[in-house]
Symmetry: C3
């Protein structure tokens, strides 16, 4: 099940990145590249941090074709995409939760410290979006938007504590999805935000 | 032969990066740093992705002196550099093709999947320029300029299929150069571009 | 002693990064993330370049709590922080020197080439600040500010030549601190700068 959602999530990330590329008037190649960085950047950064070789897309390169295919398909259907806004946000939220679970799982398999498990989940969930924003020359959204990273941390903690409590893995995944995903959607609908830190003096 | 062109290409990349640094009024140290990131960033990223240690400039650190020397030399000759515009563009195009071939070669030596060989060539060819543009606070040119990345992909495919067809390696390198390099120059002269994806709605 | 100064330096880096985050109106999570990237980014990049696994914060994850704690504490004391301007600059200067020494030390332990030892020290000292500026969407300060990187190089050279001359390690550390740190403070006070390279033609 996680595998299926993973591919849906990768596809959703690639498609939202393609739209970001379109707003910057990138060419078709740029669209594919930005989609790849966004969809695969989180997992890649996690693998580099953990020394977890080969990188998952090096081991399974067809994922690159999926990402570029999804990006080019987005160009083809761009006219109707704005009607799909909520579809995207839902898939993106699902992706955030699934990426986080997968990231935790990779760290737990190599016996990492609990803190590193949480960080690994979070890096997998949010770094792709940060790289996308840096390449588009924006201050990354995750630094100031709705509870994106918080959802990732909550999901990671549920997954970690569930698995270490020896609960049934499928059940833990379902629980993490059942809490993390609605939390993200609620945050979007209600525009929940973390408190901001505003400091306007020079240091 | 590839070795000689490689050093010429590194030097050319360092010099164009130095000019970019000059447009941002960086200090001499910043010029050297930006030159190093641009000239070595592609190969470094490739090595990190493939887990190919030691990194090539760690194994051969004199390359750092070459890069910084080229950057400082650019400062010294800045007055006449604008007359050399086409020299730079030609060397840069040569560099793109050579970097790509070297990147493919590294991936093939460790027995990577064909898709990864192409990606490895492309990463080696274009990531340095992307990092340069991010550090200069621009949206990377490669996302929307002339067929830069396309040239890299075409070169990589020629090289990969040539080598797997058991053709003479030197011949394959010559063929990749003989097609990739004029393609880049033609794209510059004719201002060939990939189609752009323009999307101006909010998602 | 180096250990103690290291933790002070990490804390200082995290706190100055938190102020940068506040100027960008980031939320509390963004503040912690930017502080982590700034305080740990240099050492992480060095470890990735040298293939030095596990990364130091993966091996010692409580450092993440220290960094996030320091960042949140900065939010709490933001009102009085501007009175501590010089405290910060002093701690930051100390951090630069200590990070550099640690970076050299890591490279020397794995028997790296002298040039790589210097680069390793410099990467550890300055990359965190570069990543902070990229994420805040600025051209990195280190490319054009006071002798930040120069101090790092000078410190690295003193440490390297001291250790290879078989001097007492503690003495070498003291010497590197005693020269690097005042040099940084003097550069701040006197506003010493490297010459700038200004180039305003198109290439």
């Amino acid at each position: 099940m996680l595998d299926v959602i993973f591919y849906i999530a990768i596809t959703a990330e690639a498609m939202t990145a393609a739209l970001a590329a379109g707003r910057r008037k990138m060419d078709w190649f740029g669209v594919c590249l930005l989609a790849s960085v966004t969809a695969l950047g989180g997992g890649t950064t996690r693998d580099l941090f953990l020394g977890h070789y080969p990188l998952y897309w090096v081991a399974n390169p067809y994922i690159l074709l999926l990402v570029c295919g999804a990006a080019l398909f987005t160009i083809a259907i761009a006219r109707i995409v704005h009607r799909l806004k909520w579809t995207f946000l839902v898939l993106d939220g699902l992706g955030l939760v699934v990426f986080t679970i997968i990231g935790c799982n990779v760290a737990m398999e190599i016996g990492a410290h609990p803190l590193i498990v949480i960080v690994s989940g979070m890096v997998t969930g949010i770094v792709g979006g940060i790289l996308r924003d840096v390449l588009c020359n924006d201050v990354p959204l995750v630094f100031r938007s709705e509870l994106y990273a918080t959802v990732s941390i909550v999901t990671a903690m549920i997954y970690y504590f569930g698995v270490t409590a020896n609960l049934d893995p499928d059940l833990v995944i379902l629980a993490a999805l059942a809490i993390g995903f609605p939390l993200r959607i609620l945050a979007l609908v209600k525009k929940w935000q973390m408190p901001k830190f505003v400091y306007d003096k020079e240091l």
